[in-house]
Symmetry: C2
Subunit: 221 residues, 2 copies
């Protein structure tokens, strides 16, 4: 089992229950921070000490307040931590439930587990910590299907660029000039139209507004 755990969570109430959960698992050495910057600092400080952290439990969204932070959210914190402590296990504890996003966390940010803040999250969290301690990964049961099934369509970065521009108010006919300036190819208006049509056909949409709504819902943009 883990010897030393760090909790990065800005909600006091949730932080308290996570600590209590650790106590239940007989993990006595746990520290907690309410800010991402503090979390990174704690980890850095204990790197060479007698008891470096072997598990980080972190939220994804942290609220801004008067204290200016270098690290804005959980994803950036994970990347920063991984750079200085590659072997620490990372368990994300968040209310997020967008499959595309969670998939990314495992594949691109190398997290070891994800527990969603939901009905049985206390039990879930214990199971997750246990699984991670045994070298396995963990994903909340209610998410397992949705992440696997790879929701219908794989958006390329090109697609995301186009839809983002639309959602920011860029005129379709002005997208080519933006693409050229950023050396993105193809940049022709017809190519943009073609790609949009293709996306809409696959997803059975007829309007750009639907695409934007869809991408917002699944955290793609």
């Amino acid at each position: 089992m883990f010897k030393s755990v760090l909790i990065a969570e800005d909600q006091e109430m949730t932080s308290i229950s996570v600590r209590k959960t650790l106590e239940d698992l007989n993990i006595t050495r746990a520290e907690y921070t309410y800010y991402c910057d503090d979390a990174l600092m704690h980890i850095r400080k204990n790197l060479q000490g007698e008891a470096p952290f072997d598990l980080l439990i972190t939220d994804l969204s942290f609220e801004e307040d008067h204290r200016k932070q270098e690290i804005a959210g959980g994803v950036e914190l994970i990347d920063a931590v991984r750079k200085i402590a590659p072997n620490i296990k990372v368990l994300v504890f968040s209310a997020e439930n967008k499959p595309a996003l969670i998939d990314d966390l495992f594949k691109k940010h190398g997290i070891n587990g994800f527990v969603r803040k939901a009905r049985h999250d206390a039990k879930d969290l214990k199971l997750a910590i246990d699984a991670l301690a045994k070298g396995r990964t963990y994903l909340s049961p209610d998410l397992k299907q949705s992440v696997k099934q790879k929701n219908t369509f794989e958006f390329t970065s090109y697609d995301i660029t186009i839809i983002s521009l639309l959602s920011q108010g860029t005129l379709q006919k002005n997208i080519p000039s933006y693409l050229q300036e950023n050396d993105i190819k193809p940049s022709g208006l017809s190519s943009v139209e073609k790609r949009l049509n293709m996306m809409k056909e696959v997803l059975e949409f007829s309007k750009n507004e639907q695409l934007v709504a869809y991408c917002k819902d699944f955290g793609i943009i």
Copy 2:
């Protein structure tokens, strides 16, 4: 101080910390439910008993699962509870931070306190319970300003209908026929255009796609 408290909260972790908070305040008689229907049942059952509940602490959003529920969310629960137990104090504990919505809770649904799930929510919750016990109302400090200032733009149900239709792929020119079928007035195309223009002007947008993205971001649709 309160004698008997009921907690309606679907997240196990949060429910645990709320119970712990009550213990800290020496409130020993607390029950908890993970579903709205159960909460109403508990209150109804204890109405005539020796210790009817004098405080309800409830979340707003409850997730659906296999158990079919009559009461879908916190707002409906509050209304239902108020009908059978007009004197119970109601404290909402939620991550919600839309000023318009919170304002409504106090004015139209007669809640006594609102604590936002945020950085200092544990301290906040204790202060709130104490305030309510003394017959006062309570609102999280970070919300006090924003509720007053009624931020940005107030979407009417008419606005939301229009933007929802767009996000579902309805052609703008077909919106009038939908509005007529549902007896929504005004139903003219010009009126729809006018309203869309007005929204875009206020929010400094130029395209419908931006409106859809904005409404998705703030949970308006």
